[in-house]
């Protein structure tokens, strides 16, 4: 039917009804990051939980300082400290059930440890040993992920698979503010929303991607505002308020588990240390900014709340400190032992069975090692 044939007979109908698939308003984050500590909400929080969070935060901070010290002693190749971000790490991990999965980025050793991972096994990657020193299935912690944002679609796929199987498992995926610029972030959030997969995305907005400040990373009102573009709720939370992080993540996990689909959470926090021990943060930021954030320290915030309310006394603080020191001493001692790696393991897990080519290379290396150990080599 050409245009001219249409004419005459044609009376334009109204456009096929346009209906937004949902009201965007409830998806939008609040203007202010959600806080619990120092607010009315704190009085409703479970004291046991707060105390547990406190102990874990103290332990986490000690882990960070100990690991950083180990880099100076050459016992770790590199350590991306999460000092200042312990509330995000610990509270988010504790908001999960045992059967849930954690998808950490390279900075999230603490979250993995908070899930029960052995503190030494969590560090094999950063020590220069094999990448994943633990069985991911044991504590349901995926390998620490280095290529930014690439772990997010994995979390979506796993959560989707669990749902298809009828398991009420939720996946928590962690990523940084910088990582939110990667295409994989976009694709993961979109798949999650379309599939209504039980995933929670937690962006730790710590102000920087190495040296690049947030203002060069995004022009959005907040990273949480990205949620509406996928049709999922966005939440903003004070990332240094462990009680608030726990509540917001736990809410999102519950929502996901109940079949409500994914949530995007932006936690506002700050990286107190340099990007890693190898980084020189003075090249891109001033001390005063760091000092301001030290005044909003996640441990001090929680400690203040607990002591003010009589839920923690000197003895309790001392107990947390002692436990942290015990962990640190154990970590130090075990990290001071040289791991024994077998070079022949280079070929062991490239495939289920080594290819003929790998078997040849295996034989070559074996011969070299034998020659070396016989001292007969050049």
């Amino acid at each position: 039917m050409t245009v001219m044939e249409q004419r005459g007979a044609y009376r334009p109908s109204p456009p096929p009804a346009w209906q937004p698939r949902m009201d965007p308003a409830p998806l939008l984050p609040d203007a202010e990051p959600y806080r619990v500590l120092g607010t009315e909400a704190a009085t409703k929080a479970d004291p046991g939980l707060l105390r547990r969070l406190y102990a874990e935060l103290v332990r986490g901070r000690r882990y960070n300082t100990q690991a950083t010290a180990l880099t100076k002693q050459g016992r770790l190749a590199v350590y991306p400290s999460s000092t200042g971000q312990e509330a995000c790490e610990v509270a988010a991990a504790l908001a999960l059930q045992d059967r849930d999965w954690l998808f950490p980025s390279y900075r999230d050793t603490l979250a993995a440890v908070a899930r029960g991972l052995d503190p030494v096994q969590a560090l094999t990657l950063l020590r220069g040993d094999w990448h994943t020193g633990y069985d991911p299935h044991e504590h349901r912690v995926a390998p620490l992920c280095t290529p930014l944002a690439t772990q997010l679609p994995h979390a979506v796929g796993l959560a989707h698979a669990a749902r298809l199987k009828g398991d009420d498992v939720v996946a928590l995926a962690m990523v940084g503010d910088g990582g939110s610029s990667e295409g994989d972030f976009h694709e993961a959030l979109n798949f999650a929303a379309v599939w209504q997969a039980p995933v929670v995305f937690l962006v730790q907005n710590n102000g920087f991607a190495i040296s690049v400040p947030l203002a060069k990373q995004t022009a959005a009102p907040s990273l949480a505002h990205k949620a509406v573009g996928y049709g999922m709720p966005g939440r903003l939370v004070d990332g240094n308020d462990a009680a608030a992080v726990h509540e917001v993540v736990a809410d999102a996990v519950r929502h996901a588990r109940a079949g409500g689909g994914p949530t995007l959470i932006e936690a506002i926090t700050y990286r107190i240390d340099a990007h890693t021990n190898a980084d020189d943060a003075t090249r891109y930021r001033g001390d005063s900014e760091v000092e301001t954030w030290r005044g909003h320290d996640p441990i001090a915030l929680l400690e203040h709340e607990l002591t003010e309310r009589g839920l923690l006394d000197e003895a309790g603080i001392q107990a947390a400190r002692d436990a942290a020191e015990t962990m640190a001493a154990d970590l130090r001692e075990r990290m001071n032992q040289d791991p024994v790696l077998d070079p022949m393991d280079l070929f062991a897990h490239v495939y289920a069975e080594p290819t003929p080519q790998l078997r040849e290379q295996q034989a070559q290396l074996r011969a070299e090692l034998e020659a070396e150990s016989e001292g007969s080599h050049r």
Partner: protein, 334 residues
């Protein structure tokens, strides 16, 4: 034992059947990709699967290749066996980071704790008059990525057998489907498909004594045609179909070249940095003193895949193969 009439089937049909049988046998097999559900894929290879197994088993994904492969990784981590379709060769490129950084390495990274049994189906190669980005031969990228298996069928029976083997493999397999062989027909009985060949074995498609043509995928029929034509020139050519680029069947290939003393590697992918370099080098390493002439290569030119109107000049054809055979220093013999 009943005898069933063996009717001709196309490669596309054999692939569909392979997917269907795998899904029927193993509930963890999931097919996913762009348009694989309702439409049955742009080449109809997944036709009927969504209907038979439901949309949760054969899923139209959002349009994002990294997302498709990335979510497949997560599904595999939870025990599923995703079979991912990349709609065309060049549209697999957005998924390369997931492929290289995760799919190929997660087993190794986790010391065997997290194998990723993912099959990545890639319709590949030219000769179908496709516009740009629809005719790439990208096997060099996959071959250079340790941790992947790379296979490609040249016959209807292999399409079924290799696909079943790929899906059954506990490792990721890049499964290259030669687009221009989709409609090639062969006597093949879908009701009684031949036993599944293991991945990693080449096969001598035609025996000969003069020289060996080493090839795979879409170039296999071309080489067989060349071998027929070569009889007029007095050459009796052997044709080896590699079937699997990784792992590589050195045994079969070297045995053939030791017998014939001469070899030409034939593929459609670009020559420079392409599969032929590896193949020629390893054959030479193994058969040096049996060689009467250097192993030659007939490949696509080192250019972006040309427009349909010029592709016949780019693709290795019978003449170009025979020219190469002619340069195998036959004088030395007399």
């Amino acid at each position: 034992m009943t005898t069933v009439a063996v009717k001709p089937a196309t490669m596309a049909q054999a692939l569909t059947r392979g997917l269907r049988d795998a899904m029927a046998e193993d509930p963890t097999v999931h097919v996913m990709g762009e348009d694989v559900g309702t439409l049955g894929g742009v080449f109809r290879v997944t036709d009927g699967l969504a209907k038979e197994f439901g949309e949760d088993r054969c899923t139209d994904t959002p349009l994002a290749e990294a997302g498709i492969l990335g979510t497949a990784v997560g599904m595999a981590m939870y025990g599923l066996r995703p079979v991912v379709e990349m709609q065309f060769d060049a549209f697999a490129y957005p998924a390369f980071e997931q492929l290289i950084s995760h799919v190929s390495r997660t087993r190794n990274r986790t010391r065997g704790k997290m194998p990723l049994p993912i099959t990545i189906r890639v319709p590949y190669g030219g000769g179908i008059g496709g516009v740009e980005h629809h005719s790439d031969s990208s096997e060099a990228y996959y071959m250079a990525t340790p941790g992947l298996h790379v296979v490609t069928p040249a016959t209807v029976a292999d399409a079924y057998g290799l696909l079943r083997a790929a899906i059954a493999s506990d490792d990721p397999v890049v499964f290259l489907e030669p687009k221009r062989l989709y409609w090639s027909k062969d006597a093949w009985n879908p009701e009684d498909p031949q036993s599944v060949e293991p991945i990693g074995r080449a096969v001598v498609r035609r025996s000969g004594r003069s020289a060996t043509l080493i090839t795979y995928g879409p170039s296999v029929p071309v080489c067989l045609e060349a071998a027929e034509a070569a009889r007029d020139e007095g050459w009796d050519l052997e044709v080896v179909d590699l079937r699997s680029l990784v792992p590589f069947d050195d045994e079969t290939v070297s045995a053939s070249v030791r017998r014939t003393g001469r070899a030409v590697v034939v593929h459609e992918s670009g020559g420079f940095g392409g599969p032929g370099g590896e193949i020629a080098a390893r054959v030479t390493e193994r058969c040096f003193h049996h060689l009467e002439a250097p192993v030659l290569r007939v490949a696509g030119f080192d250019i972006p895949y040309p427009p349909p109107m010029l592709e016949r000049h780019h693709l290795p054809g019978v003449d170009r193969i025979l020219d190469a055979v002619g340069r195998l220093q036959w004088e030395a013999e007399s």
